[in-house]
Subunit: 236 residues, 2 copies
DNA sequence: TAGTGGTCTAGACCACTCA
DNA sequence: GAGTGGTCTAGACCACTAT
């Protein structure tokens, strides 16, 4: 494990274990340097990571402080994978509606940057949170990258399998959101009525080398889902 | 201007001026170091910023590549200020419904971390994009920080005034989103019908020292608004 | 003005990609 | 194995905060 990651993890763990609150002060750089026996740059890098993750904020001339948002049960829109992490305390389950190898739709081919006659794994699932319908999900996986899926994998966390089972490193993702009225079929799966609100999420996941491998369309049940995003002003 | 910021700006400008596309390769670190006459760490810092901003992605052993999402007209949920920036090509206007100093609601006091008898500027606006209603916005500004507002300021970009006029540095923000059916009054302002979908955004803006100064509640017209978020996997 | 974080350097060494 | 990005160091100096 890389030093700055390890340190970041330990600092975050320290904050959780001691139940520190927003605004609580962490030890100064000097102290952290000697405590972890690393150079200033390394500590700085750790803290930058934690700042980016929304765990701390640093104030020049003053100190390093804990950042905590006040609301629980919100899904992070930055997690870049399933929402397992944010909702650890909740019971997430899935029902697989469809799983097959097929040709991509035009939209999927475009977003995955593949030909119309390439193969994709098509997965359609309904996901539940504490027994309530959370969302309807349709995913297209580039089969030349995600070479194998089966019903068992797809019933659990697909991303866990991709990462651990296939050893694939996920790079970055582009997420597009909009709100609209539910169509008849979507409403049916979500246990809602046609015309009720739905949050539509389209996300394209890329490998570390920039190649798209997953195009997912998710429709959220508005009654069960709320989201949060922590932003920093560090980029203009 | 700090070196790494300046370099980041220049690289981004280079990408735009040359209309580089997703996957296009930038010069290698060595080249950038000599070109900008700075050390490796400085270039690295610039590139890390651009990576965080979703402008490039770096692949170890391979190179530095341009990252571009394909869709235009989406509002970035990370911009941490008005959406002026993303929608530069669009004509954003505002109609001020209400502007006054008052006592905060319980909710506003909680989120701004102030007493119920403190003073806040209350601003209610409808915002338009190309003449269509984009959103209804209610904001509470801690008056001990945002000491003065008037009708003219509030008709324009409030954040521009806060930054330039008051010289206040914005630190970070916590944004919470959910979807629901519009209430009668909200629908009226947005030119929609009661019960139609609405996207509700609550954001708390903080100073660089962590103090909240703005609590804003925005209801978006679902017909006019779409959003995007670029995520990196650099934090686990 | 003391304390604290931010920027920058020069250079060593490591880890991954790709031909 | 050559090329390229990532990690880490030790130390100088700068900029902001608090008192």
């Amino acid at each position: 494990m890389i030093k700055y990651q390890q340190i970041a993890i330990e600092i975050e763990k320290y904050i959780e274990d001691h139940a520190l609150q927003q605004g609580d002060k962490l030890p100064v750089l000097e102290t952290l340097m000697t405590q972890f026996q690393v150079s200033k740059s390394t500590i700085t890098k750790s803290l930058d990571m934690l700042e980016k993750k929304g765990v701390v904020f640093q104030v020049r001339g003053s100190g390093i402080f804990v950042r905590r948002h006040k609301r629980r049960g919100y899904i992070s829109l930055l997690s870049n994978q399933g929402f397992k992490k944010d909702l650890e305390d909740f019971n997430i389950t899935s029902k697989v509606i469809e799983l097959e190898v097929r040709k991509p739709t035009q939209e999927a081919a475009y977003n995955l940057n593949i030909e119309l006659d390439a193969d994709v794994y098509y997965v359609k699932r309904v996901r539940y949170i504490n027994g309530q319908t959370l969302c309807l999900e349709e995913s297209f996986y580039n089969k030349s990258i995600i070479t194998y899926l089966n019903n068992e994998i797809v019933s659990e966390s697909i991303f866990h399998y991709i990462r651990e089972g296939l050893g694939i490193k996920v790079g970055f993702s582009d997420k597009y959101l909009h709100v609209d009225k539910l169509k008849e079929e979507e409403a049916k799966y979500l246990g809602l009525k046609k015309g009720e609100p739905g949050l539509y999420d389209e996300t394209i996941f890329h490998l570390t080398n920039g190649q798209p491998f997953d195009f997912s369309k998710i429709t959220y049940n508005y009654e069960q889902s709320q989201f949060f995003i922590q932003a920093n002003s560090h980029f203009l």
